[in-house]
């Protein structure tokens, strides 16, 4: 393994993120090739976490652009502070200044509201730009983003062109609500994060819930592993595992039993049908099939 990748792995580990070779290699290449990294995976497997950890690792700012339906250039790039502009005009109403002067004044940088994309290109040091859940944004926005990513400059008619001196490191995440365009995919490095293996999940639980009973951590991971093999409507992710582990640790549990699982099931299963099916299953065969090592 290359030294840099090992270093990234250990840096990520020290930033409280349990990582593996695919993640570390992708992050390494994203940093060296300066390409955006597109991360896909099921909900709750820690996609967003990669960006946060990367920012911590590089000791730089994390700028987050949360995507949603109808997100447009104005909300992502910049907007003028209209209220402030109005007030300013009102305050200087009786003044002698010409319209030109007035306009020059209110369209200066102090009236500019920088949104995430503009923020990302006006930093002293390359930040990490997290474009979260990019699949929620419209296709038009995707195209707009590609344009910004291609040369990292933005033109504001009233001010001029702003070019990034320190282009950001870009992480995009997607839950695959909508298939992303090929154009976007091809410009990115790609990483698929799957549910963690048993060993990895145990490590994650022990790392993130300090003081948890080791036996309990093992049982939790085993339980989650079995649960993900059952056909569920809402498959629990690592986020659920951690919620649950925290809850169980707070209850001072040291192992799983039926009552305990039943009482805290809401941390793990979030679909009424799933809960019903699970209860029926446990009623029939007990908890033990869920705690066995898969053959």
């Amino acid at each position: 393994m290359r030294e840099e990748i090992r270093k990234i792995q250990s840096l990520m580990e020290s930033a409280e993120y349990v990582t593996d070779a695919p993640v570390a290699t992708s992050v390494h290449l994203a940093l060296t090739l300066r390409k955006p990294l597109l991360i896909e995976g099921h909900a709750g497997v820690g996609k967003t976490e990669v960006a946060k950890v990367m920012a911590r690792m590089l000791e730089t700012n994390l700028i987050r652009l949360q995507c949603y339906e109808g997100l447009d250039a104005a909300a992502a790039l910049y907007e003028w502070n209209y209220q402030k502009q109005l007030l300013h005009i009102k305050l200087h109403e009786g003044g002698q200044r010409s319209v030109d002067q007035e306009e020059h004044e209110i369209f200066s940088e102090s009236f500019l509201l920088k949104r995430p994309l503009l923020q990302a290109i006006t930093q002293e040091r390359s930040p990490v730009l997290l474009v979260d859940e990019v699949d929620r944004a419209d296709e038009e926005f995707e195209a707009f983003m590609l344009e910004v990513f291609s040369d990292w400059q933005v033109t504001i008619p009233e001010i001029g062109t702003i070019k990034a001196t320190h282009p950001p490191h870009v992480i995009l995440t997607s839950n695959r609500v909508r298939e992303l365009s090929d154009a976007l995919r091809r410009r990115c490095l790609y990483l698929w994060i799957d549910y963690p293996s048993y060993d990895k999940e145990v490590t994650i639980v022990e790392r993130k819930v300090p003081g948890i009973n080791p036996r309990l951590a093992g049982e939790i991971a085993r339980f989650m592993e079995s649960l993900r093999r059952v056909r569920l409507a809402k498959v629990p992710g690592v986020a659920e595992t951690l919620d649950w582990a925290t809850a169980l640790a707070a209850l001072h549990a040291d192992h799983l039993d039926e009552t305990l699982v039943s009482e805290t099931l809401g941390c793990v299963l979030k679909d009424a049908d799933d809960i019903k099916r699970f209860r029926a299953e446990v009623g029939k065969a007990g908890l033990s099939p869920f705690l066995q090592t898969p053959s």
Partner: protein, 381 residues
């Protein structure tokens, strides 16, 4: 820059992947070559991960990539000479590639090439022999299954024609909005800049989003013909929607969206025939379960799910009901098309149909052109 031989090997590898239908751009290849500079070439797994990050763009491609990677970079690794095999000048030339082309694969490819050659002209061919009005009306209301084989071609053309006309209408149609929308401060301010007072308000209307379609077509036995017409019809309508996802099923579910996107449509229809499963009945419930497991992320409240089937389900009606309910909860609307409904004496009494009916927003026939035309009016939310 990495070693020349190695760079060329990566280029050849990318070509191999392209032949396996991975859409790889030159830019990606350049980056992949450059990424080798930042990887430990003696570590096969690391090279694998690095190339995968650069050349794969969606999870479905990983399996193809893995097979190609194994075949292409396998040469001489058995002797644990990984580094040499990767960096050595005597790189496996074309040698490993044929190994991917088992007989079956080659046959498949020949077929694919055949598709590419299909002339697409017919779809767009303008001076169609459009039947005169009365004749046309007769065609429009006749059940598809009553046409003879040589009339079907003509009818398919007519289907496309009608769909195209509808598409124009549907995409132009505007619905009145109840609200005037939000005040657009930016334009308001601009408009009133020289006045010092806000006199004229500017509004911003909410953006209208296109609807997504998910099609699940029964292609078993007699349903195949109807599926073909429905697909043809919706294919011609597709730019009205933001996205059309198509699946076919009989015993198993097959996603055919990609075929529909890439190739001549007539050939796709022929392909559908090949996919048809003669082995047994239809298991709608199981097919829907498969859909929910792997593809439920395609369905949201802006999605219309259209299911075309006669409801002759040989599976468990309970499963059908559960899975359909699951779809209904996510989808904006569920439409069930049953060509048998075109027959006035038909009653939806099969167990499958009876279980499904309460969960369906709209139940209609799709047995003739008039019915398809009517369907188009239902395709908005």
């Amino acid at each position: 820059m990495p070693d020349r031989a190695l760079s060329r090997a990566v280029v050849r590898f990318a070509n191999l992947l392209r032949r396996q239908t991975l859409p790889i751009t030159p830019r990606q290849v350049i980056d992949a070559v450059q990424s080798l500079d930042h990887l430990d070439l003696a570590d096969r797994h690391e090279v694998y991960l690095g190339l995968r990050a650069g050349l794969v763009t969606r999870p479905e491609e990983v399996a193809i990539f893995d097979r190609a990677f194994d075949a292409f970079w396998r040469a001489r690794t058995e002797a644990d000479e990984v580094g040499e095999a990767l960096a050595g000048p005597a790189l496996p030339g074309e040698a490993p590639e044929p190994s991917l082309e088992s007989q079956g694969a080659r046959k498949e490819r020949l077929e694919l090439e055949g598709w590419g050659d299909e002339e697409e002209g017919d779809d767009g061919g303008e001076p169609l022999g459009v039947p005169v009005a009365s004749e046309m009306e007769a065609l429009v209301t006749r059940d598809f299954s009553t046409f003879s084989a040589d009339q079907l071609d003509e009818l398919l053309r007519l289907t496309v024609q009608i769909a195209r006309r509808l598409a124009r209408r549907v995409s132009r149609r505007r619905r009145p909005v109840r609200r005037r929308g939000r005040i657009d401060l930016r334009r308001t301010l601009r408009a009133n800049l020289t006045r010092g007072e806000i006199i004229e308000l500017r509004y911003r209307q909410r953006k209208r989003r296109k609807v997504r379609l998910v099609l699940l077509c029964d292609v078993s036995g007699s349903m195949d013909l109807y599926s073909r017409f429905l697909l043809q019809f919706l294919f011609a309508l597709q730019h009205v929607f933001s996205r059309v996802e198509t699946f076919t099923f009989s015993v198993h579910l097959t996603r055919v969206t990609d075929h529909l996107r890439q190739r001549s449509y007539r050939a796709v229809l022929r392909r559908l025939q090949e996919l048809r499963d003669w082995s047994g009945g239809t298991r709608i419930g199981e097919s829907l379960a498969e859909f929910n497991r792997s593809w439920s992320h395609l369905v949201d409240r802006r999605t219309i799910v259209i299911l075309l089937s006669d409801g002759w389900d040989t599976g468990d009606p309970e499963v059908l009901a559960t899975e359909l309910l699951r779809i209904k909860r996510r989808a904006g609307r569920v439409i069930w098309l049953n060509p048998l409904l075109g027959n006035p004496s038909y009653q939806p009494l099969t167990r499958g149909m009876a279980a499904a009916l309460p969960l369906v927003d709209h139940f209609a026939a799709a047995h003739n052109l008039a019915a398809l035309r009517e369907l188009a009016d239902r395709l908005h939310l």
